[in-house]
């Protein structure tokens, strides 16, 4: 039994949700629709168990053998498995290979645990929805794709499942497809993602031509190929990294491709919690972290990563300050936190000693962010559930007495997000700030990173401020319910409350458990190909600074929004046009509309016009020719026998003339 589990736990992780999806699609759509969540919960429980087994038993077995026979060891230990020989043509040798190492194990535990809790929440939240089975089928498919993405052993397989998670995101954002806004948001998400995917596929092509192989083992884990390429042609490595980063920009909603994430809130709240907070958007971070062996040789690309991350963090933080839709605040907050992760990933530009810490803390922030952002979104979902699907904060208030469970869990998540001392966000964000300050002081790009550092501090301050603004507007102030809520808003039922409690506990404690104890860092640095890590002592100054920032932000929010709503409105009016600029997302959506959407639409309309008026008319004209020819010949057949006889006569005469002429010339 243990032997079987040892060999098969790896492929069970993605296979269980896939089986659940097929089961729902084939059977649950017809029979037992109301219990369609059961296969998915079972499958995700299996996946979580196998992921934990992977994390605790299978992957650590590979740690002790850091020599050339790693491949055999991995194959024997159940962390490398080629499920199917997919493409084996000429020089292309790509199989469906599942490969687990430290980074993927940590990521899988995060993905499966959050997915399980979100699915349990969704079974309560989506109760009574006519599309109930379709929802769970799409979620199961999504978790399958995400697990395969994390476990992919080569770039091509990663790309396939990169697209697959984008597809599932489209299906789930547009879940209520009768709503035009939801359908438009789903389309926008997919199209903007596609732009990023274009960069990613170009990067993959470039990897193929440069390295000759797409396997992670050969490109990333084994350092010899990289060393060869760096010696010969470092520029192509920078290009590869930049193109891969373009893919990450699309998937992880960084500037300028961040416009899809706030609109993606049209989907059901569990979808926002799972896909747009914890799992899909972290695929970009995972990609850049996975390709760390490539990025550390391309400092120019890392500068771009950090720069775009900083820009995104600031833009999103500014925009979140004035939003009235609670889910949008959380969406922009997600974008901002992803910007933090990328700031950290790019912090090692030119400074290889810092690389291990930079990547480690980016991934650690991703890990803690998954939990506290999921609890925030699920609490928002609980609020929506109680308020009759109203999420505009202007329409309700003072909910802390009516919804105590939601209140506590949201507060836990908000404190974690703001970086309140000793909670999970504190540990991860604080470490990112310390990495950035080290880049500023010790790296070759000091001035650049000082700007980045300043942006990071400002974004942290704004994060604390807008998070508690949302908290206060929702849960404090005078009690107000919208009409859709009915008489008594009911708090979360057990199916929803359980995951909320668990995630809140994770939001509070997981940072402490995994951060200062160096469990996360120590585990992650066993990833093959990871740069050598240095000792990282706790940065007390940075801890103090981030505590101060968090408290100032929270205090500022209390000062403005703790009182009456009127005072808050006055505060907003104080900023006048700046508030509008912030509310409209820095007019970036409008700029996109004017610079990209309108020209493309007029191009499409022109093309359609040419197609209809020119090409179709040409085809019609070609069709007219036989008609004209027929029109000339048709009157010949008029049914009058004497006309036919006359034509016979003409033919005979012609034949006669020909024959006589031939005879005459012959004579």
């Amino acid at each position: 039994m243990i032997e079987w589990l040892h060999d098969n736990a790896l492929w069970l992780i993605p296979a269980a949700p896939l089986a659940a999806c097929l089961w729902i699609v084939l059977i649950k759509q017809v029979v037992g629709r109301a219990t369609a969540h059961r296969p998915v919960v079972l499958a995700l429980a299996i996946s979580l168990a196998c992921s934990l087994y992977l994390l605790t038993v299978l992957v650590p077995e590979t740690f002790t053998h850091h020599d050339a026979s790693e491949h055999q060891v991995e194959a024997a230990s159940g962390t490398l498995r080629t499920v199917y020989e997919w493409i084996h043509v000429g020089r292309v040798d790509v199989g469906i290979t599942l490969r687990a190492d430290a980074m993927s194990a940590l990521m899988l535990v995060m993905v499966t645990s959050v997915s399980l809790l979100v699915v349990i929440f969704a079974s309560g939240y989506m109760h009574g929805d006519p599309g109930y089975p379709r929802f769970f089928a799409a979620i199961a498919l999504f978790v399958f794709s995400m697990c395969m993405l994390v476990l992919a052993g080569n770039f091509l397989l990663l790309f396939v499942f990169w697209e697959a998670v984008g597809l599932c995101s489209y299906l789930l954002i547009g879940f209520w497809y009768h709503k035009p806004s939801a359908a438009a948001a789903a389309k926008k998400a997919f199209v903007v993602n596609r732009i990023g995917d274009f960069g990613l596929i170009l990067g993959i092509f470039l990897i193929w031509t440069t390295f000759g192989t797409l396997d992670f083992e050969r490109v990333l884990a084994d350092g010899t190929l990289i060393a060869t390429v760096v010696a010969e042609n470092p520029v192509v490595l920078t290009s590869i990294c930049l193109l891969l980063f373009v893919g990450a920009v699309g998937k992880s909603a960084q500037f300028p491709l961040h416009v899809w994430l706030p609109d993606a809130m049209e989907g059901p709240t569990p979808v926002s919690a799972l896909i747009h907070a914890a799992t899909m958007v972290t695929a970009g971070v995972y990609l850049v972290a996975r390709c760390t062996p490539l990025f550390i040789h391309a400092p120019y690309a890392q500068l771009w990563v950090a720069g775009i991350g900083a820009a995104t963090a600031l833009i999103a933080a500014i925009t979140a300050l004035t939003q009235y839709d609670l889910k949008r605040v959380l969406a922009y907050s997600t974008v901002s936190q992803l910007g933090f992760m990328f700031m950290s990933l790019g912090a090692a530009a030119g400074n290889e000693a810092l690389a291990a810490s930079a990547v480690t803390f980016a991934m650690f922030h991703m890990f803690t962010h998954a939990y506290f952002k999921a609890v925030l979104f699920l609490s928002a979902g609980s609020v929506m559930h109680a308020m009759g699907d109203v999420i505009d904060m202007r329409r309700f208030g003072g909910l802390r007495k009516a919804l105590p469970i939601t209140h506590i869990t949201f507060l836990a998540g908000a404190l974690a997000l703001s970086g309140f001392p000793l909670l999970s966000g504190f540990w991860s964000k604080d470490e990112i700030l310390s990495v950035l300050s080290q880049a500023m002081h010790h790296g070759p790009h000091g001035t650049f990173f000082s700007v980045i550092y300043g942006v990071a501090l400002l974004s942290s301050l704004l994060t604390a401020f807008y998070t508690f603004r949302a908290y206060l507007l929702t849960f404090h102030g005078e009690e107000k319910f919208p009409e859709e809520a009915g008489h008594h808003p009911h708090d979360a039922p057990p199916a929803m409350a359980g995951p909320l409690y668990l995630l809140a506990l994770a939001a509070l404690g997981i940072g402490f458990l995994a951060g200062p104890t160096h469990f996360y860092a120590g585990y992650l640095h066993h990833t093959p190909g990871f740069p050598h890590s240095e000792e990282h002592s706790p940065d007390w100054f940075m801890m103090g600074l981030s505590t101060v920032i968090a408290l100032v932000g929270i205090g500022g929010a209390y000062a403005v929004y703790g009182g009456s709503r009127g005072k808050a409105e006055q505060f907003r009016k104080l900023f006048g046009p700046l508030a509008d600029w912030s509310y409209q997302g820095l007019y970036l959506d409008a700029i996109d509309e004017a610079l990209v959407v309108k020209p493309l639409r007029s191009l499409a309309e022109t093309a359609e016009f040419i197609d209809r008026m020119v090409i179709d008319k040409l085809v019609d004209a070609c069709g007219l020719v036989p008609q004209l020819l027929g029109g000339v010949l048709r009157p010949v057949q008029n049914g009058l026998i004497q006309n036919y006889a006359a034509m016979m006569l003409v033919g005979v005469l012609a034949g006669l003339v020909l024959v006589l002429r031939t005879i005459a010339y012959g004579m």
Partner: protein, 140 residues
């Protein structure tokens, strides 16, 4: 009597038959014209037979006449059944195989029907028969 004049006779017969076939509207007269064409050809054959000094032309003519007789019988049977369908010997009634947008026979002006002649009626002996109005009254 040289060859050319015999051939001219044959040609004239043929041409007349041809013109008659192509221009007449009456079914029976069309068949008549076709027979005339056959006769013209027979005259031609006989003339050439005489020129070559053998009887092949005349033998062929006998064949032609035989065939013409059978053909005339068949043609008249067909005309009879056609007449019984439409009660008219006009060939332009049978133009249904033509395309809808071609000139229709109905557009040709129908030939003027001669007015039904009024014939005098037979009366018992001794009485003066009533004369039709078209005939002038006679003084007899």
């Amino acid at each position: 009597m040289n060859l050319e004049s015999q051939l001219i006779v044959g040609a004239v017969l043929f041409i007349l038959g041809m013109i008659g076939f192509l221009t007449r509207r009456n079914l029976i007269l069309m068949i008549l014209s076709a027979e005339l064409m056959l006769h013209g050809v027979s005259v031609n054959l006989t003339a050439f037979g005489r020129q070559h000094g053998n009887a092949s032309g005349q033998v062929f003519t006998i064949f032609v006449l035989t065939i013409a007789a059978c053909e005339a019988g068949l043609a008249l049977a067909l005309i009879l059944s056609l007449y019984q369908r439409r009660k008219s010997l006009d060939i332009f009634l049978w133009g249904n195989l033509g395309e809808p947008d071609s000139v229709k026979p109905a557009e040709y002006p129908p030939t003027a029907e001669p007015p039904a002649a009024e014939y005098p009626q037979l009366v018992p002996t001794g009485h003066v028969p009533k004369m039709p109005a078209s005939v002038g009254t006679s003084k007899v």
